[in-house]
Symmetry: D3
Subunit: 210 residues, 6 copies
């Protein structure tokens, strides 16, 4: 049963009221954790996802076995990826893809790769960052941003003042450095949760903005 | 000015009402971000920290430039480290230290290392996990838990069904696997934020439970 | 000028007769090497490419500065990827993508990723192997094949009899082992030539078989 | 039966006419693939090898189970290692050894190491590049050449414009950069084929030019 | 039985006269090698240790199965760590800890970490170098010293003239460079012997100079 | 001036009495440390080397700036490499070469590689271990020995009881395990000292036992 079918069948409320085990082929991850009843806030949030992008991202389904965890994850994620920042939404998605590529995270490269393609209007850019961000024709500001995020991913112990200085030299403020670091940090968390649980991306991502 | 001095001077309310730049020597991190006025909820939370452990952990001070970020971080952190789980609090702290050791994160090894010493009553165990968890005399369950968390840290792309099977074989449920993964993920996030910002641990941690 | 425009303008013969420097934006790689006149055999081969897939792969354009090199590369490549073998063409393309992903080669993941999508009819499979082949639902035979190819890529010095034994155990013959190794070897060569020269894939690949 | 014995026994023609399985101790690799009858061109080429260097390199014996593969490999190899180039033959052999040392390839370090000793007249130089090219007293041009080839070997994804700029700064043309990259690429292929098949170097190499 | 108990019970002479197998819980390492009778020189040296620091370091107990090995180790160790040098004793202990941290050696980080805390009077400095020396507020001279020692530890093949030049630029003499290298080398030896034998540090170290 | 010339000129006594700076081309390492007068014991030892192998190994020349260091190094080295042991001298030299190959140490692979060739009578074995010990036709005992030594070299933190168990399973005693570890440890020290100082092997090694 794909997301669209489920939607035409009446969607969330029923599912929330009567969670049941999915067949293996429908599972969003390798852990067997039945969905908890959605809280009203999360009920509304899932509905909003469905309306806005046509499906509920599987990462949310994965967290939905426990409302406390889901309700802690959603605001942190949304603050980092969507709240006002010196970084554009596209830039935050570029960090997400570059970090996830470094970590070879299937779920996150697919989901955030679609976002880079959509927000940039460039399928090539999405592919470049997914495969090797050094192959993308970035301006010095964005290149420094991804250099920092990727170094922070593969060897955080080597990040020092001179790395921050390189960001400042291309115009990033201290607040921007926090945001770059926090988004890179978030993806380093999500990459690991997705890999640990074999989280599967919604199929809809694959064809988006190609 | 150390935490204790500040506390005897009347503490949080004044600081919250009139945040001012700290001298370099007092800074909790390398980014220059003045503290925002604490929201009532965070005001209460900081006060609770002070009462309970005698200081406010610097990671909270670091997040306190923006109430939205602080208020998103605190519940996620507390849910993962303190909420009911198949993992004891000590086990979650053990994961925190093993992951942070792999990432050579000064802030996190110091802060969570103190927690392992305190919760286990064993200074040796704290040191062993901080330096090389393989040197600790762990039972098979805890050893498998740390093997999983550390592998997930250094090469998440290699984590597969057989890794989950090893956890199940020593008695962990799928829900426990989520919790191990989520705590390991959280620390992979915090390690990077701490390294990116040169976050400094409160001095009080060093002597705790030695 | 994209491939399609060039084709409607009369295509290869003119280009072959009068090679001229391309503007930077049209270059297929970062080295400035004007195309040599195509030999009759290569003239025919390029025409065949154009007719069959609608464009000449840029790797051939990159080699076309020297007919001896182009004429040595084409038969080796075609023998390995297209000649009769115990491996299907899809399997050889899967090896190509898995190796190129390990080497983060933009050109090769894009070009061979399109082939995997086209030959398998599965956009997901193409993405899985491009990002992390361990996330693909492979049967044991194909999984062993990619495990061998990827190990041979990242640490060839560790490949030993027990690795060959694993391939034989899932049904591969010694001849098949040669073919797996030779395709993995070829891509390890091409990945390096592409990275060394910043070779750019034809744009047409991006949208193929999505 | 060693190469010299075989030669005095009348050599190739008989072997070509009646290929038979070799005993394990005589095998050139761990795969059991009987030699195909040599084509006239390859017959002549093997004879030429025998006359010129006293034996047929085992890599050719290994490929000789299939004339299409042998006839594709020989011209590509000879073009890269022997055709006119801005790089001397010694320099191409130096690249071959440095790359093979990085990949710990027994066959290739032995075979190409002998070539470096012979062409340079310096047994020390051969050993230095085989063990650690940084220990060799190279001029800046050759040092830059090997730095590029070795970086391209261990992390091709990090090779960028500034790496090419370093080669140009010591006098290499774009054509030379292609040749450096192509030789490094070829050895990255051969190293993997040799490791995958446990290819054994002819014994004659060991004592050459010591 | 801890060191102090043993001491009040009459200490070394008896033990030396009648070596006997220790119970597993008392063993200083995972190898079962009974102590040899101490030579008079080593008898005196062990007594001196006991008087000066209150216990005999377990590394000496581990070597004490063979007087030739113990008597070869002690002077080399003492010359490197204690003899006159352009490096202070603290600096040599800092190298010891930084190298041992890189090698995740439980025994050596514990034993030498205690020395750094004691000699520097700074528990923080000990922790910083044990976890990540880059987090310690070092002057340029000591920073260069540890950068060299740690690089020499993780990739000795990359150490070249420019690395020595960096040491000279901050004031180190050639003799000092030898001493830095020799201490780093010694610890690379001891780390491996300790890891290979699961050597356990004396408990007394844990609480020292906190 | 090579070793042999120096010998016919009257050799050590003069040199010891009047140490003088060598020209750059004659230096045994990149550090400028004039030789100290040899102590009588070392005078005799150097003479013995000269008589027995025709030259004084440069590592001894390198240490000869300080008699305390030279006199500490020599007995430790000789005990480990030459004293009675469950390991043959050849086996200890095999460990030395395998470790030094892992560390790409020019001095040590050359000097100990010559010893393996001489003691085994097999030039191939020397080359195999110098390039990739996995390519050598070792019996299970020696293979386990080198596996342990090489793992201890590249990731000592991962060596555990199961690694020791593998050695015991092929017949090594606990004392043998100490010796394997100590030789591997010694070479990890010497490799670093040689790399740090750019120590040059005596030319005589290159042609020995080919």
């Amino acid at each position: 049963m794909d997301e669209k079918t489920r939607k035409t069948e009446g969607g969330r409320p029923a599912a929330a009221a009567a969670p049941k085990r999915k067949a293996a082929s429908e599972r969003v991850m390798a852990l067997d954790q039945p969905r908890a009843p959605l809280s009203p806030a999360m009920e509304a949030y899932f509905k909003k996802c469905d309306e806005k992008i046509g499906f509920v991202p599987n990462v949310l389904e994965a967290y939905a076995f426990d409302m406390a965890k889901l309700e802690a994850f959603v605001p942190m994620y949304n603050d980092l990826m969507l709240a006002p920042s010196g970084l554009t939404k596209l830039e935050r998605e570029m960090i997400a893809v570059a970090v996830s590529s470094q970590n070879h995270c299937y779920y996150c490269v697919v989901a955030h790769g679609a976002a880079v393609r959509a927000l940039s209007g460039s399928p090539e850019l999405g592919e470049q960052i997914a495969i090797n961000y050094r192959a993308a024709p970035l301006d010095p500001r964005q290149r420094a941003m991804l250099d920092f995020a990727v170094k922070l991913t593969h060897s955080p112990w080597n990040v020092e003042e001179e790395d921050r200085a390189r960001l400042r030299a291309v115009g990033f403020s201290d607040r921007d450095i926090w945001d770059i670091s926090a988004v890179a940090g978030l993806l380093n968390m999500s990459n690991r949760l997705a890999s640990a649980t074999d989280m599967r991306p919604n199929q809809a991502y694959h064809g988006q903005a190609r």
